[in-house]
């Protein structure tokens, strides 16, 4: 996994609440057996005027010019600013895969859906929860060229006018993301503890260990 340390980037404002995983990446793209290549289909139904299909070449598709992803001033933004309950709906990791593949590194919102939030950390994406008033004030400030600096080590966001906003993140998740660690390798370091648990549990609940 790619590590996340510090970025300074343009901010793309997506001013909608309850953005669901079907909107982030529609189901037809979930037929892929690959992990990469979802970026061109991110927000497909909002982004294009035609109906997207898997493996479609998107270079000549008609764009919805009103959608923020298609507006020139926000191109190459690595920070997505959005509203409450972002990522609600399904557990599809294709949602963070698509956001990451498109180029986003951090998402700022007043709240995230649990599964989506968790999935972000497995893919080098940093979801940042800020209170609704702060998010609202950022929405008002985002104009052409507005940049934020996100520093995971110090857990701070810095605005162009040098204002500093603290954010909260679990120590364990922060450590894994800062170092881009392999979760499975870390867990397998505890193999003895897992076996110990199994031995104990097999006595209490032997029906779970018949096969």
């Amino acid at each position: 996994m790619r590590a996340f340390t510090k970025i300074t980037s343009l901010v793309m404002p997506l001013d909608r609440a309850n953005v669901d995983t079907d909107a982030i990446i529609p189901k037809q793209f979930l037929k892929s057996i690959r992990r990469a290549g979802f970026g061109p289909y991110l927000f497909d139904e909002w982004r294009y005027l035609d109906r997207g299909e898997p493996e479609m070449d998107c270079t000549n598709r008609p764009l919805n010019k009103d959608f923020v992803l298609n507006q020139s001033q926000y191109q190459n933004a690595e920070i997505l600013l959005t509203r409450e309950n972002f990522g609600c709906g399904s557990s599809r990791e294709h949602a963070p895969w698509a956001l990451e593949d498109y180029g986003f590194r951090a998402i700022i919102a007043p709240s995230f859906a649990d599964i989506f939030y968790n999935n972000c950390f497995k893919n080098g994406l940093l979801p940042i929860v800020l209170n609704a008033e702060v998010v609202d004030s950022l929405f008002k400030k985002v104009t052409d060229g507005y940049q934020l600096t996100v520093d995971l080590a110090t857990q701070k966001i810095t605005t162009p006018d040098a204002m500093s906003i603290d954010f909260v993140i679990d120590a364990d998740r922060k450590h894994r993301l800062l170092n881009g660690l392999d979760d499975i390798a870390l867990t397998l370091q505890q193999a003895d503890k897992i076996k110990e648990y199994e031995t104990k549990r097999a006595k209490q609940a032997p029906w779970l260990f018949t096969a």
Binding site: E45, S91, E93, I184, T187, Q204
Partner: protein
């Protein structure tokens, strides 16, 4: 010291180790695997040269992409076909039991788990699908995960998790005639909102929940995720234990007796403390119909489409305006005046035998309305289909002009050929009414199976409790 909640007990039983920041390594008793969220996990294992920790704790089935008609002809869509074949190949390579498309036990992953006794009370259950919360109906700690965690659980039989807070939702008293589990859970989501349960494990309790069958309890827990909670739970009682007796994967002989004894403790202690308690009056719940593009945008069938002007929160008001536009509805319009084009009865929410019986009771001796183009009845598994046919339900549906299909996720998320066309309006027993969910530009209204069948007959929404045939 206060007693433990059901969630606390399940959590404690599965802790392998705890970390400094409060997260823990949790043991996973059962993983259910399907074709959409697993190929990249198997690839990851192969790349790292890893094996499964315990093969036998994984059970696989293809459900999202499978056709519900002409199965003998295979899958027409080459990309979907490759995905299903990839599951077959991966299961063979890694030694996982799979119910393939030709197996009578094939069906929606959340229907076959309990049906086979593969997901049991007291287990931790995971699957790369958010509706894994369904299995909490039997007091299993069950939650949806992403593909990275699918791979993690395959390789280690464990997941790193942070403990959720405890929420109790008590549905007091008994529901009226014709009111189902679906109406109860939609009413709950209407009350607490789609983010109301975020960060919580929700335990559903109260007389109305205790009175539900296992099928009904699964419907309620299934939609816990639509209230934002990864986990929904219901305590074990005699209904739970009777349900699991003699299922193929259920414990046998002396293990059964041991299990029943252990399961009898799977309830919250009388003095357990919850972080949040929500109460609902079951007697006030009417048949529910969603009108918007989020499950929380729901009203009773005898109400009208709400007016955004009455909403004081500007973010919510904007969402309502967008929803009205997408759904092609007017504020103030009576729900019963909304005409429908298609009906879908199925999904992991409502495709079990009880759901099909409820729909058949309404449809018996009647025909679908002329303006209704298609009514799909998609049983949750091959075994549900078989039982329905033994009871003659298929004949009732076919005589009413409904289509009797093979099991799968079908038009709940329209990954296969079953879908809405742009602008089409559907009465659906599924769980999500998001934009485009049932097909590009499609419009979804979530209802119970009885309400969906009644709408198919009338051509528009009707109050099933006011028509003959409604149970």
């Amino acid at each position: 010291m206060a007693g433990q909640t059901l969630y606390d007990k399940l959590w404690q039983d599965h802790v392998v180790s705890t970390h400094e920041d409060g997260s823990a390594l949790i043991y996973i008793d059962r993983q259910l695997v399907h074709e959409v969220t697993s190929p990249q996990a198997f690839d990851g294992l192969r790349l790292a040269g890893r094996k499964l920790w315990r093969q036998a704790r994984n059970l696989a089935v293809a459900d999202h992409n499978v056709p519900t008609i002409d199965r003998d002809k295979g899958i027409a869509d080459p990309i979907a076909k490759l995905q299903v074949e990839t599951l077959d190949k991966n299961c063979a390579e890694f030694g996982i039991t799979e119910f393939d498309m030709g197996d009578v036990r094939q069906g929606i992953v959340h229907v076959i788990g309990p049906e086979q006794g593969a997901t049991l009370p007291g287990m931790t259950v995971v699957c790369g699908d958010s509706h894994t919360s369904t299995h909490g109906a039997s007091a299993a700690l069950a939650f949806g995960i992403g593909t990275s965690e699918v791979e993690h659980a395959m390789a280690t039989q464990c997941l790193v998790q942070k403990k959720s807070k405890n929420m109790l939702i008590k549905v007091n008293g008994h529901v009226g005639k014709g009111i189902t589990a679906k109406d109860i859970v939609l009413a709950i989501i209407g009350k607490i909102g789609t983010a109301g349960g975020t960060g919580y494990a929700i335990e559903f309790a109260g007389e109305a929940i205790a009175a539900l069958s296992m099928e009904g309890r699964m419907t309620v827990c299934n939609m816990a995720i639509e209230a934002g909670a990864r986990t929904g739970l219901i305590a074990v009682d005699d209904i739970t234990i009777d349900y699991y007796r003699n299922r193929p994967f259920s414990p046998k002989a002396e293990h059964w007796d041991m299990a029943v004894k252990a399961w009898s403790n799977l309830h919250s202690d009388a003095d357990a403390l919850f972080d949040k308690v929500v109460e609902l009056d079951a007697t006030a719940i009417k048949p529910q119909v969603t009108w918007g593009t989020s499950p929380e945008l729901v009203v009773a069938v005898d109400e009208c489409v709400p007016n955004p002007v009455d909403e004081s929160d500007s973010v919510k008001r904007d969402s309502m305006i967008r929803a009205l536009e997408y759904m092609g509805l007017q504020a103030g319009q009576a729900i019963t005046d909304i005409k429908i084009d298609k009906v879908f009865i199925g999904s992991c929410t409502n495709s079990r035998i009880e759901d099909l019986r409820a729909a058949a009771e309404v449809a018996k001796g009647k025909s679908k309305a002329e303006n209704v183009k298609q009514v799909l009845i998609v049983p949750g598994s091959g075994l549900v289909k078989l039982q329905a046919e033994q009871e003659g339900l298929d004949k009732i549906f076919i005589e009413a002009g409904f289509e009797w299909r093979d099991p799968g996720c079908s038009m709940c998320l329209a990954m296969n050929a079953d879908r809405l066309e742009a602008g089409e309006r559907c009465a659906s027993t599924s769980n999500r009414n998001f934009e485009g969910r049932q097909g590009y530009g499609g419009r979804t209204h979530l209802v119970s199976p009885a309400m969906a069948a009644a709408a198919a007959i009338a051509g528009h929404f009707v109050d099933v409790t006011r028509i003959s045939g409604g149970n």
